[in-house]
Symmetry: D2
Subunit: 259 residues, 4 copies
Amino acid sequence: MGELNWSSAISEIGPNTIRLRGYPVEELMGKIGFAEGIHLALLGELPDPATATILNAIFVSSLDHGTSPPSVLATVTVASTGAPLGSAVAAGILSISRFHGGAIEDSMKAISEALAKAKSDGLTMEAAALSLFESYKSRGARLPGFGHRLHTKDPRTTRLLQLVDDLGRGKDGLAMARALEATIAKSTGKPLPLNVDGAIAAVLLDLNVPPALANAFFMIARLPGLVAHAHEERSRQKPMRQIHPTDVTYDGPPLRHLK
Amino acid sequence: MGELNWSSAISEIGPNTIRLRGYPVEELMGKIGFAEGIHLALLGELPDPATATILNAIFVSSLDHGTSPPSVLATVTVASTGAPLGSAVAAGILSISRFHGGAIEDSMKAISEALAKAKSDGLTMEAAALSLFESYKSRGARLPGFGHRLHTKDPRTTRLLQLVDDLGRGKDGLAMARALEATIAKSTGKPLPLNVDGAIAAVLLDLNVPPALANAFFMIARLPGLVAHAHEERSRQKPMRQIHPTDVTYDGPPLRHLK
Amino acid sequence: MGELNWSSAISEIGPNTIRLRGYPVEELMGKIGFAEGIHLALLGELPDPATATILNAIFVSSLDHGTSPPSVLATVTVASTGAPLGSAVAAGILSISRFHGGAIEDSMKAISEALAKAKSDGLTMEAAALSLFESYKSRGARLPGFGHRLHTKDPRTTRLLQLVDDLGRGKDGLAMARALEATIAKSTGKPLPLNVDGAIAAVLLDLNVPPALANAFFMIARLPGLVAHAHEERSRQKPMRQIHPTDVTYDGPPLRHLK
Amino acid sequence: MGELNWSSAISEIGPNTIRLRGYPVEELMGKIGFAEGIHLALLGELPDPATATILNAIFVSSLDHGTSPPSVLATVTVASTGAPLGSAVAAGILSISRFHGGAIEDSMKAISEALAKAKSDGLTMEAAALSLFESYKSRGARLPGFGHRLHTKDPRTTRLLQLVDDLGRGKDGLAMARALEATIAKSTGKPLPLNVDGAIAAVLLDLNVPPALANAFFMIARLPGLVAHAHEERSRQKPMRQIHPTDVTYDGPPLRHLK
């Protein structure tokens, strides 16, 4: 049966031995945070402190967005049938796809395309951004990562970019995202601000995260939110209720601030 | 349609406003880590620093355990069919159930039962532990949270308990887990050490996590590991390969240590 | 690796050989219907013609029930995110659990319990039915399989029982279901008719289907309905729409009859 | 909330009224088989008798293919963790995607492309088949629907095509599939026979099934097989066993024939 042998580079397991990407797990425990562990598991190396701060900010920014996202509605719908919590959140994970969460990957690819064009054609950021914008426009498509149905000035975007700037970690990805934002405003006369998906896309690119993992970052960030909604459904609601997608009221703690 | 109105206490969302359990998300970003955000989302309050350290250690301890867990085999099997990454990890999440991950919840309930008996009957920890052990023995059941097929001295358990002791955060849950461990050794003559599930169970109890969320903590911790395996499958393997459950070799980085 | 060898009694596969429960599949094709094949796959033997007719009626009765079941709402919610059709219907399948579809299994167990009591205590059907009814009542529980939120006289129940009676296939299961229906009416003064779940439960019992497969029969019957809804969502609706659980209008063909 | 109103053309539901695509469900029960009901649910109309025979043959042909398909391995892996049957088969459904089951849709598209070319360019079937074959060859791709890793002469294909021919239901789809088969044999000197995916693809095309539903037909056909495997796992095996993908022995009924 030797032909079935395969290899994996993630964990080395033996009796009383558990190593993640080479590190004994007991040496990591108490020394690194969960976000650093996620970076290690997914990308193979521990992040430096500034990268860890940015990753934590991204994960915290995406933990939850209320009850309206389809991932939450799918989760509470399944939870309402008496299914196990794992089935409820699995339905939520299945909802994170092309149109829900998918904009991060689309935006990473768009920014990468513009950066590649700048390099191959020797263009400035601005010229490459204009070229990409016009290419989307000519096929009637919208650039992913700009504008939001609800937030005109998304506080997550502002804070994430401020943090990245403060830590001096904005690179070509973020520069191109800003060039695209400026291009849209100039070309259309209507500013369409970089949204949280576009901002995360730019920052993940600058952290060398492959676009194929973008949706996964969002799933990892959002799973605790899905769990919170499934648990709330099971704790507070009657089974098999009819779930209205928008007629829902917040009844949690009032506005408060970190001390 | 007013009868369909419902309430949720997790997030308050409005134009340019995203508050998690009352906190503006932009104030949390850059200030708290992902683990603290998870605690806030699930339990409604931010953890104190010692609790955050312990939570991070628990999440890091459970990030991955190689290729043998059924959640990983289900994930790579689905990934191998060319399904999207979300479908692959959803299959992994569905595998985290009664016998895989479920021991944490079972162990939390067993420890709670012993603690309740100590209180209601005015027993010492030792007497209540013995009573629970004998009740399991009389119905031919094994106490959950003790012994491991592979690890006789699980490094995750040792490290987690050391950390909790150092931080002075062991309470009744951990005391009862230790009383149960001593009872088993004394009653059977064969020490069956507290395993990582039992240790996490005791610690989560002492952190006031409800047992109904135990499986969810494990899912949150393990999802990044599942993503890493799905991504590796898609990056390194041919589609539709036959996946041997044990004939697999580690080919990642050699042993290394934190600097 | 011999210790990993295992056995399966469902299909025998070899080069140019596919046998289902011993039958060459090419001999079955064109000779038996899908429902008979399902019976063969699940229970190991081909059904006789009357059983096949009843199974077909059960599957047809449960194909769809409009948009209100949570399995459909979960399916269209996931479909609305641009996820593949398989992800959408998987979310629907995950919704078929304790409170949605689960009543068939619960009802099979309740009827079996009454039948076992009749046998062990030498009771008449009526006496055993009364005993079961009172046992449920004493713990404040409702007998599963009776009453429906919408249908006071469910046309599926009437037709299924008529068919079973015409074919002379009602046995102890159905007799006990009717005894329970009579007991409820007599004891409470309020008739609570056998619903479609209870009728299917009684009939499946009389066909020797194990209760552990009851939910699966419902999943098999309903999957085509879920597919129809997912396909309709993808064909007719815009992505990421908000999906109201009840404010939906039927716009398909008007009432028509078999020729 | 009127803006949330939506429409569905599948079922009309009211008190004591359940109509599928306009037909009262109680009129269908006992009169049509499950396969005819599936056709009605998915395509909106009842099939004629020859179509129903062909559909039944397709569903029966695809009920199961032993333990080696990834959908079965995912299903038994999840079942082995003690997860509910619905979670186990949902993981199997998620495995039916691009490389597993997906060949039917790919093949329908390829055949359609060749038919469209024949029509638009006024080519014979043979000329259009050659053109498609060369277009695939030039980009190093293989035509989907031809050849099989295990079956050189798949008994399902032979039987399905014989049935379709006997019923006089082969149309352009099947003619083009045969033209492609002849082209491959002639062009390469190595016959690569139409496989079961390609045969089903050709026949579904001739039955006017849209390619977007091809994978769904396979899911519907295979779900009972997945259920059988999940049920066998739960009935015969110990939890959390290691599941070898190929070292499995058939121990069901020996070869037998329809009487």
